[in-house]
Structure formats: C-alpha cells, structure tokens
C-alpha cells in the first residue's frame, strides 16, 4: 500500500503506527504486543466501517485505486499457460485490451480484459486502459477465436471508457464497439464477465455483453463517468459526487436493477489490499458460472445471452 484515498487516511495513520511499534519490539514486550493487537483490531474495525458504508463517489475512487488489481495481476492468478495474442489484423496492436488462450481449472479458455497498467511506463503502454478501435477489433478476434475453437470466454472489465481521441474517431470507434456487441450476441460458447474496477460506458459493454456479468463489491458500472454526467447535466464537473449518487452506479444498485448476476465480495479494505484473495474470490464465482453455462449447448448459450439483455428493464415496476 503506497497510495491512500482521502477516507483511508485515519486507517493509514493507524497502520503506520502499528508498523512503528512492530519495529520497537522483538515480541518480548507484552505491553507493546498487546498494544499492537489493540490497534490492529481498531484499524480493522475502522476499515470495516469505512468500507461498509462507502458512498457512491468513494466507490468510484476505490474502483480507480492505482493499486487495484489489474488484468495482468488477475490473469496470473486465475489461469495457467496464458498465451497473449496480439493485433486486430488491419491496423495495430492496442494494449488497452489484452487477451489470449489459457487454461482455467484444467480447461482451455479464452480470457481477455482491459489493462490499465501499474506504473507510468505501463500505463502509457496500455493507454490507461482506454481502447481505440483496434483494441475492440482485437477483442472481436478473441471472441471469434473462442467461438471457432469452442472455448469458454472470460472478460475482465476495467476501463474509464473508450479513448476519446481524433485517431480513434477517425478509425471508427463507434463502429468497432458496435461490431463487438454484434459478435458478442452471436457467440455459441459460455461467456462470463467480471466488472473488476470501472465499467465505463460503451468501452465496457463492448466486452461485457455476456451470459453472466459479475461485479466486484466496490466496482462501478455506468453509462458515463460521474464527471461527464455532472458536466452535461449539472453543467459542472465539480458536481461529480452528486452525479455519482444519482447515477446508481454501484454493484449493489445494479444487482437491484438485475443488470448484474452477482456481487463478488472484496477483501477487507478493498481489492487493492489483497490481490491473491481478490483473485480467489473471482475464481470461485467464475468457476460456478462456467460450470452452470457449460450445461447449455451452443444455440442455447446464444439464446440465453440475447434473452438476458432483452429482459433487462422489463421486470422493473412501471411507476
């Protein structure tokens, strides 16, 4: 933990105090040991309190936490023999989306997701997880390869959105996303998504049009960023906190609207505090999801996916 969010400060101070005390004692000083235990219990209580009642805006911050597990962190823990593939076969290699063949619990799969990077160099390399058209076209290749070889498809979603640049617009950002949706809805293999961090608009749904969509406890998923929403509807990006509340972008809200299938609980204090445990929790849900879906044949999987999206909103109360 090198980075602390505003509301984590008191906890961070406590933790740094605990660390100091630990350096003071070799374990013999009973007073210090019990003081450490007391402080640790307090820190955990604070964490549990803070993370038990995160505001939507705090969730946005947690979802964007620089130490939140990335695609690369998760893939190394979830699968074996990961073999990343590259390229859209028409313009370029966009590392904002990564993916390839892998072995998941002994079974071959295709796994893909947004990669934001973890330091300046890798963030630039992955364009902060904001795909350009070639990223979506690569994702479509992954989908088609999964379909061709009858492999279950897993997507890990974590993007603030598609890259809003001149070059991306020029090369058909809209078309590339639309085509991803089209391909997603026609696949005849099990397709499971996990919203890991930010589920940002068209940039997210392009690789989240799947049979089961799961969401980490503090992840967010929305049609536009709170800042974007605030600047359009409130005419001020500063109203992002307010917008975040209005948007109903938390996993808990989305489960209520039946947009997602389940919430994956995060380790105490957020996914960024424990990558291995986060991966283990994702693994559990993925495994169950793929198990269920593998009982369906190709046409049923396709039908299931289409009907899932068609039914969205239709069961909500009318007024």
């Amino acid at each position: 933990m090198k980075f602390h969010l505003e509301f984590e400060r008191p906890i961070a101070e406590l933790e740094s105090k605990i660390n100091e005390l630990r350096h003071l004692t070799s374990g013999q000083d009973v007073d210090i040991v019990s003081e450490i235990q007391r402080l640790q219990a307090k820190a955990e209580k604070l964490l549990s309190q803070a993370y038990g009642k995160l505001t939507p805006w705090q969730k946005v911050q947690v979802a964007r936490h620089p130490e939140r597990p990335r695609f690369s962190d998760l893939v190394s823990r979830l699968v074996e023999d990961f073999t990343p593939l590259a390229g859209d076969r028409s313009f370029g290699e966009d590392r904002a989306i990564m993916g390839g063949f892998a072995r998941y619990r002994g079974r071959s799969v295709m796994i893909m997701g947004h990669e934001k990077g973890h330091d300046t160099e890798s963030r630039l390399r992955h364009n902060f997880g904001m795909p350009k058209p070639e990223g979506y076209r690569k994702a479509r290749r992954f989908m088609e390869l999964a379909d061709h070889f009858n492999l279950p498809l897993i997507s890990l979603v974590d993007t603030i959105g598609a890259y809003p640049g001149l070059d991306a617009e020029e090369r058909g950002q809209a078309e590339a996303i639309a085509r991803c949706l089209e391909t997603s809805l026609s696949l005849k293999v099990p397709y499971v998504s996990v919203i890991v961090g930010e589920g940002g608009s068209g940039g997210a749904i392009a690789i989240a049009t799947s049979n089961h969509v799961h969401m980490l406890e503090h992840a967010v998923y929305s049609v536009i960023t709170p800042e974007g929403c605030a600047s359009i509807l409130w005419r001020s990006a500063a109203k992002a906190q307010e917008a975040a509340v209005a948007q109903k972008l938390t996993a808990q809200d989305l489960l209520g609207f039946k947009i997602i299938d389940s919430i994956i609980t995060e380790p105490l204090g957020g996914a960024h505090r424990d990558h291995p445990l986060t991966a283990a929790k994702i693994d559990q849900v993925l495994s169950q999801s793929l198990g269920e879906l593998s009982r369906l044949d190709g046409p049923s999987l396709q039908k299931h996916r289409r009907e899932k999206f068609l039914s969205m909103g239709r069961t909500l109360p009318m007024n």
């Binding site: 809003p164 809209a174 998923y221 049609v223 536009i224 359009i232 289409r306 999206f309």
Partner: protein, 280 residues
C-alpha cells in the same frame, strides 16, 4: 429567438419547428444565417434554399416526408418503467419527460411506423431529436426492437433514422443496456436476411453510434450530419489541438470508410426505394 430551444447543450441546439408556428414566421438558417420563410422551409423539407443545409426536423415531419403521400401507420410499442433511478439533476427526470411529451406530442424519442416509400413497403424507426436530444433510453430500445419485430413479421426491410446525442443519462445503466438490446434487433434482421438500412441524421453520436446505427447492411447519411462516438469537445480536450473543420461530419465519415452514401434529403425516398427494390 423563441424558436430556438435551450433545453439541450449549445452544440446540440438547432432549428426546431413548433407545431403551431404561424405561416408568416421567419427562420434563420443555422448554417448560413440567411432568413427563410417558414412555409418555404417546410416545402423544401427543412433544407435551406440558400446553402442546402439540412436542418433537423421532428419525427412526424420526417415520417410525412419519407412515406408516399405522407401516409403511414404508427406502430405502438410497450411502455417502460418510468424513472427507475428516481433521477434528478437541476430538474426531475419525470418532469423533463412530461415537458418533452408536451412539446413533441410523442411518448418518447422514437416513432415506429410502416408504410410505402415509392411503392416499397418498409418499417421505419425515426428518432425525434426534440425529445431530450433524441437520447436512447428504455423506451427507444423497445421502439427499435418493436420495429425489427414488425419487419420480421411482415418480411419488410427496416430503415432506421437515428438523430441522437447518445444514451439517456437519466436512465443510468439501463440506458447503456440499450446498446446490446438494439443490437439484438439488428442481428435478428440480418439472420432473417431482410435489408437493414441506417440513415444517419444529425447528430448520431455516443451510444447510438456505438450500437445499431453502425450495423446496417448499408449506411446512408444526410449531408453534414455529425456522426461520431465521443463528442467534439471531449476530443478537443483530449487532443489539445484544433480538430479539422469537417471532423465527424458525414462527408468525413465517408472518406474514413464508415458511410456508403451521403444523400440529399430530396433524393432520399428515391434512393431508398431503388436500393430496396434491388435487395428484394
């Protein structure tokens, strides 16, 4: 300038006709600035006599202009849950809906109709930009799905006329879900091998461009219509440099391989009919 709406952000502001404008009202062309007599503008299908600028028009007007003798049958589609997010910014979403309905006499931002175009029967789904910027929420999603379903039942081609700033933010994630939902509609058309044509009207942006609007067998666009995913201002902020003047226009998209035909509004019925006759 009472005939300019202020409901939508400036860049989306456009010439909007009221149902009750007196015949002697003048309009100013939003492109060349020339004054045009209301009756002349209507007669010329909302195309400026001076500069050929294609102005926005209501869904009703478009239906009237597209279909033979202005005759068509509106197709109703299911109502949707009202305001599931209880959304409120400076104003409640339910109030915005109420105002938009009063202003446009439409239930939501799309009308679905069937009729003939130069003798060719088809189903049309027409966006109404006047209705909250033509934004796509649950109702629009149902409209598109109903349009496709009707086309499938009747074995008619489907022609969609998006004119939309994108997803309807006030419906949150439910509006994002209209992207895959509308694509189910286009996919059904393709699987039935029935023609699907998009006629992109000004503007076709955001979630609308990133879903059904880019998936037609053919893509036609009105001249100078703005088409793109990210808004021009957002792109400008990202690029920190001036964008080409024609950025995200229909003509720019044609050069960049995204559009088949940029078609003058006056030629549109004939063009649609010619293509659909070839594809039937």
């Amino acid at each position: 300038m009472s005939w300019l709406t202020n409901l939508v952000p400036p860049k989306l502001r456009s010439l909007v006709t009221k149902v009750d404008v007196p015949d002697n009202l003048w309009h100013r062309c939003t492109d060349c600035g020339q004054m045009i007599f209301h009756r002349e503008l209507v007669e010329n299908q909302y195309v400026c006599h001076h500069c050929s600028h294609h102005m926005r028009m209501s869904a009703q007007e478009r239906l009237r202009l597209i279909f033979d003798e202005g005759k068509y049958t509106l197709i109703p589609f299911p109502k949707v849950a009202a305001d599931p997010l209880k959304f409120k910014d400076s104003k409640k979403y339910v109030d915005r809906l109420k105002d938009a309905r009063a202003k446009t006499h439409n239930e939501d931002a799309i009308l679905v109709a069937t009729g003939t175009v130069k003798g060719v029967p088809l189903v049309a789904g027409v966006f109404n930009f006047e209705f909250m910027g033509g934004s796509m929420g649950m109702a629009v999603g149902e409209g598109i799905l109903k349009a496709a379903q009707t086309a499938l039942e009747k074995k008619y081609p489907l022609v969609l006329f998006p004119s939309s700033g994108g997803a309807r933010m006030q419906e949150g994630i439910l509006s994002l879900m209209q992207l895959p939902r509308s694509v189910v509609a286009t996919t059904m058309m393709k699987e039935a091998r029935l023609p699907l044509i998009n006629v992109l009207c000004d503007p076709t942006t955001g979630g609308v461009s990133a879903s059904f609007a880019m998936l037609g067998d053919l893509t036609i666009s009105e001249p100078a219509a703005v088409i793109g995913f990210a808004g021009r201002r957002v792109v400008e902020e990202t690029m920190k440099q001036k964008l080409p003047d024609d950025f995200q226009t229909a003509e720019y998209l044609l050069e960049h391989g995204m559009v088949d035909i940029v078609c003058h509004r006056h030629q549109l019925p004939e063009t649609l009919a010619r293509i659909l006759k070839l594809l039937s």
